[in-house]
Symmetry: C2
Subunit: 191 residues, 2 copies
């Protein structure tokens, strides 16, 4: 995942795995939010035809993962419900440009960075978790997040030259690394 500008610190996976149920609730919310974000992009940009099918498919895959995590929570006897989100996604958005098409490019690249960070961290979780059911879940999600990162970067490259997209991705990756470094240490994927 060369997009990321920082590496997750040693001990992160052990820290968040100390509260596995809270981590799973967070992740169910993340999958739901990822689906919501993809659908919101379709609402906001219906005239950008190249976005529609890939984002709709991606939203469906996020919903499958949401259902998987909700089912796992039920098997573990954990109640899904409201949860204070990490400040990560909101702070990440503060780095986006507000004029078009830069706003759309930045939205797609921030989505790519969220997927890349999830991918990096699911790898760590899959390596660290002792519960085989959690290891399997995290390993499967890791692969999906890597694919999704590629989808978002490819879509951004429909709007600007690959070199321009790559430079902007590097800038936003620096911003993402700062946001994450400032995040309070909650048991969340992005904290």
């Amino acid at each position: 995942m060369p997009a990321l500008a920082s590496k997750t610190e040693p001990g992160w996976a052990e820290r968040v795995l100390a509260a596995p149920d809270e981590l799973l609730i967070d992740h169910a919310h993340c999958e739901k939010k990822a689906a919501g974000t993809a659908i919101n992009l379709i609402f906001r940009y219906p005239q950008r035809h190249f976005l529609l099918e890939p984002l709709s498919r991606l939203a469906r895959e996020e919903l499958v993962h949401f259902e998987q995590v909700v089912a796992l929570l039920a098997r573990r006897g954990v109640a899904f419900g409201f949860q204070k989100p990490a400040p990560y996604a909101g702070r990440l958005r503060e780095g986006m440009r507000t004029h078009e098409p830069a706003r759309l490019i930045d939205t797609l690249l921030c989505c790519a960075l969220i997927e890349a960070r999830s991918c990096e961290r699911f790898q760590l979780l899959a390596e660290t978790a002792e519960d085989p059911e959690l290891r399997d879940l995290f390993g499967g999600l890791r692969a999906a997040e890597a694919r999704h990162r590629g989808v978002y970067v490819d879509l951004a490259e429909r709007l600007a030259a690959a070199e321009v997209v790559g430079e902007r991705l590097a800038e936003l990756a620096e911003h993402e690394a700062r946001v994450l470094a400032d995040s309070p240490p909650l048991p969340r994927i992005h904290a």
Copy 2:
């Protein structure tokens, strides 16, 4: 579909099929909005566990239909994009109660009515359209809308007795029939 309090007037299908592309664009928006509504309910009521899996699955099915209609538009050389929506869904919402759990019950029942009306009208469209591709599409969508109506009513019956739900559904169906009767004659499923 016994939930509906009125029958679509003769000639409706011929009228809207005079603008088939606008009708298809409308329907792509409707599928996208149906997915968005189901996901919004998951966002608003994460603690209502019985909603999560059925609504997530339903949202995924609406997205598959969205992709189908978008692909059909592309084959027909029609550009998808923004479109002035019919006032139907917004006016329908005006009939909902605002305190919980009545708000959630009414939201589910309004969704059931939208699905029931779509089902009735896709049946008419499938019988009337001359283009075999449109006939197939409308016939397939009709069956899905009937199933979705059942999903929404079943979910409402998790929140109140079937008799109470049935009475409220009948009241909201009267409201739906009035909203539709007042709708301007646009080439839309719900106009």
